[in-house]
């Protein structure tokens, strides 16, 4: 009888010590030229964003393309886009953990970090859209001098709570995972100053089994808490649209559809960055083709789910017999913004179907091309939902068109700059692979009477 094989986690057989050396290498050596080039590009993009934002703050958000029928433009599109990117991290760290998918260990830490950075990037957009970001404190219910409370019936306030909770819990989860690895760094380092910081960041962790006992349980509980949390975040983002009465926004499938889309776009982004990262930091034997293969399968599954939602929306618009509903969808597919609709359908439902073929999943250039298309497609999904539903509503007299200005585009590019700057800094100063988790699932790392390999 042939033995059922699981995916190999690390392709080259390495000792724990060698594994440490590989993973800690970026934190213990001078940056390479490849890193400087990447950082330069990111900082350039970031500075474009800063300049555009400066103009926006100086002259006001009239600098943007938002206009009367389309009151929500790039700002909300980018917000939803970046929040969505974050979801893959939590999915990998929490849901796949609960499903005991061992392959997640190699990419979990990195994906979690991406979650945090993506949520940070996303958070900028609602803040700048309020026009006076320094007054954002009013978003939280605190006893202010005018005896006024926030509006608890508004999904935008739910967003405030959901996004802050999501950021905090993801950050804590990530930080908890880092503790043992930082303790490992603390014991390795010879520099007193580094040791000082590592000691503080590791809380003085000393790998005691009496501590591991609670730690493992905490990790599991946090995974259990993060799973519904991640569903709730994009659900609440979808409520921003779906509780309205606007055709194209108000449809009951929005919550699960947004969640599936978020996971889809998140995996697209994680895959994009990982493909580059494993090359830049020589981690090809830890982040293997096997990982990419699994991610391609998840992309295929979630992409198809998103396709189901597109189909369902279209069918129900027809089935509803409501002329306004029907018009919105006809207008989406054949109106002035039909190009964006077909980009969305092709990139999100069409191209991922190529992942049915093993050859495509195993080819790095093909994979790279498709995941970039997925990112593009998911950005356009939000564009389609927001712009096409708003620009032609019930009253033809108030129809209009939307076009972003160069400041919109500058801020959008800047958001990528910010995200990648943070990612690049992260891989320099922190272990970007969870050694504790990776070691724990390698063959031979657990007592043999528990394993039947």
């Amino acid at each position: 009888m042939s033995v059922h094989k699981e995916m190999t986690l690390v392709t080259e057989r390495t000792s724990f010590q060698e594994l440490d050396n590989v993973v800690f290498k970026p934190t213990e050596s001078k940056p390479t030229i490849k890193w400087y080039i990447s950082m330069g590009i990111s900082l350039f993009a970031l500075s474009l964003g800063v300049v555009s934002l400066g103009y926006t703050f100086y002259y006001g958000i009239g600098m943007w393309g938002n206009n009367n029928p389309v009151g929500w433009g790039f700002d909300i599109i980018n917000f939803v886009f970046w929040i969505g990117i974050g979801h893959a991290g939590t999915l990998i760290s929490a849901i796949l953990y609960l499903f005991r998918q061992k392959w997640r260990t190699g990419i979990a830490r990195f994906a979690e970090a991406m979650t945090i950075f993506a949520v940070m990037t996303a958070g900028i957009f609602p803040l700048i859209h309020v026009g006076r970001p320094w007054l954002a404190g009013y978003l939280f219910p605190y006893p202010n001098q005018h005896n006024v409370w926030v509006n608890f019936n508004s999904p935008l306030l739910w967003d405030v709570f959901a996004v802050s909770t999501y950021f905090l819990v993801s950050f804590l989860f990530w930080g908890l995972g880092l503790i043992p690895d930082i303790a490992n760094l603390r014991e390795r380092t010879t520099s007193g100053i580094k040791k000082f910081f590592y000691t503080i960041l590791s809380f003085g962790w000393r790998n005691s089994n009496r501590h591991w006992q609670h730690y493992e349980k905490a990790y599991l509980i946090l995974a259990g808490l993060s799973t519904p949390l991640v569903l709730s975040v994009h659900t609440i983002v979808s409520f921003d649209f779906a509780v309205s009465v606007l055709p194209g926004w108000h449809t009951t499938i929005f919550p699960p559809y947004f969640v599936a889309g978020a996971v889809f776009s998140g995996f697209g982004m994680v895959a994009t960055v990982l493909i580059i990262l494993r090359k830049v930091f020589d981690l090809e034997h830890i982040i293997t083709k096997g990982h990419l293969d699994k991610m391609a399968k998840i992309l295929l599954a979630t992409g198809t789910m998103v396709g189901y939602a597109y189909g369902m929306e279209f069918f129900m618009a027809w089935y509803s017999g409501n002329t306004f509903e029907q018009f919105v969808f006809i207008n989406r597919a054949f109106g002035p913004y039909s190009w964006s609709y077909w980009i969305m359908v092709a990139c999100n439902v069409g191209f991922p179907q190529l992942f049915w073929f093993k050859k495509v999943r195993n080819s790095i250039p093909m994979m790279m091309a498709i995941v970039i298309l997925v990112n593009v497609g998911m950005w356009f999904e939000r564009f389609v939902i927001i712009v096409t539903s708003l620009h032609r509503d019930f009253l033809p007299a108030s129809w209009g068109m939307y076009a972003p200005t160069m400041y919109d585009i500058g801020i959008f590019i800047g958001s990528f700059g910010m995200f990648f700057t943070l990612v690049l800094l992260f891989v320099r100063v922190m272990p970007s692979i969870s050694l504790t988790e990776l070691k724990a699932v390698l063959p031979g790392s657990q007592p043999s009477h528990h394993h039947h390999e």
């Binding site: 059922h4 005991r100 599991l220 259990g224 519904p228 309205s244 009465v245 009951t252 198809t304 189901y308």
Partner: protein, 392 residues
């Protein structure tokens, strides 16, 4: 391998006959009401039979090992699929009693129904009804044949072949259950629409099929029909999945409710209106507690997920909850004013119990209760799990 006792079959047959008698009496008493009851029963049987095939496919797709020793239970339950061909026939005769859109004069007076006529018409409805069953049957035969063949040949390639078939089955399952939900249940109120409805029925079916599997696994294990190596840990995984699926159902149900409640537009709200007022309001509240709140609180502690008695009780409880869910979806369309229960419902429940017991017995007498040829089985039995999620 131990065989199920003959008594089991006798009881099953008795239940089935009692169910048939009660249902037949129902048709004599009030034909329309009996047809509405029949729709509930048919949707419930589809939930279990097709949902079970979905669970089998899910195991193949995700490469799960822990559930391999239990896979046969779901496989046996999905043997209900071939009988759907027979069970669907009464619906054909009940179209006029059930569906407002099937009356020509109603359609002529109603421009909205005219717009829907290309989809909601008798011919296409019947074609879809049977086409879905044929689709399920094809995948049933493909998957189960490979699985059973593996018991003898022990070939590895049968596993990989089934993985591929299962992946193909996933989108088919999603779409076919959506069509079933729209046709059988949503179109009972032909003016109403909700894009999430397919997902709602899908989630409910998953809960029901899992509950059936959990109930049978625990009962079979207690009576010594399953491998002795199976420990509390496996049952723990199983109940975690059930727990998670039930939370997913609640999530979908809440999403649908909140969006309709909040937007409050007449095209949608009328459907909820008569369900949250009057005695139907009590049923809605009961559904919230029976389907979600109570099982959630009971299954939350890790200890409870391993307690066999709790598991068995909650599995039966959730099966009942799914029945109530379908009742809540279907029956208010017949009588919007107030909720009503009577012996008609008991007939359906008896029939469902008897039907699945017989189906299970038939397969169990002819096939191994454990997929002994599956290479994953070895890993499954020696599985070590993470410490459990629990509050203790």
């Amino acid at each position: 391998m131990k065989k199920l006792p003959g008594k089991f079959g006798t009881i099953a047959a008795l239940l089935l006959v009692a169910g048939v008698v009660l249902i037949a009496l129902g048709f004599f008493a009030d034909k329309q009401r009996a047809f509405f009851n029949y729709i509930i029963m048919y949707s419930f049987i589809v939930s279990i039979a097709v949902g079970s095939l979905g669970i089998v496919a899910l195991e193949y797709m995700t490469d799960a090992q822990w559930s391999t020793p239990f896979r046969r239970i779901s496989e046996f339950l999905s043997f209900g699929i071939p009988f759907l061909l027979l069970l669907a026939i009464p619906i054909v005769f009940g179209i006029h009693d059930l569906y407002h859109w099937s009356h020509k004069e109603a359609v002529e007076a109603d421009p909205i129904l005219q717009g829907k006529a290309p989809y909601l018409n008798e011919g296409f409805f019947i074609i879809r009804l049977f086409a879905m069953i044929v689709l399920w049957l094809i995948f049933y035969i493909l998957i189960i044949r490979n699985s059973e063949k593996q018991d003898e040949t022990k070939e590895y390639k049968l596993l990989t072949r089934n993985v591929k078939i299962s992946i193909g089955f996933a989108p088919v399952l999603m779409i076919s259950l959506t069509i079933t939900a729209i046709d059988l249940i949503m179109s009972l109120e032909p003016h109403w629409f909700s894009t999430i409805f397919g997902v709602y029925y899908f989630a409910g079916s998953a809960v029901a099929a899992l509950s059936a599997m959990v109930f049978l696994s625990v009962s079979l294990k207690e009576n010594g029909y399953l491998a002795s190596e199976l420990t509390d840990k496996q049952f723990h995984s199983m109940s975690t999945l059930l727990f998670g699926m039930n939370v997913f159902w609640a999530y979908i149900a809440f999403s649908q409710f909140l969006l309709i409640w909040y937007a409050d537009i007449p095209e949608e709200t009328f459907w909820l209106q008569h369900r949250i007022h009057g005695s139907w309001g009590v049923v809605s509240l009961a559904l919230l507690f029976i389907h979600f709140v109570i099982p959630f609180l009971i299954l939350l502690p890790g200890r409870m997920k391993e307690n066999r008695l709790t598991l068995k009780t909650m599995a039966i409880w959730l099966l009942f909850a799914h029945f109530l869910d379908l009742y809540w979806l279907v029956m208010p369309n017949l009588n919007k004013e107030s909720a009503f229960f009577s012996w008609n419902e008991i007939g359906s429940l008896l029939f469902i119990a008897g039907f699945f017991m017989l189906v299970f017995k038939f397969k169990a007498d002819r096939t191994n209760l454990t997929p002994i040829g599956d290479p994953k089985l070895e890993q499954a039995v020696g599985l070590h799990l993470h410490p459990d999620i629990s509050i203790d």
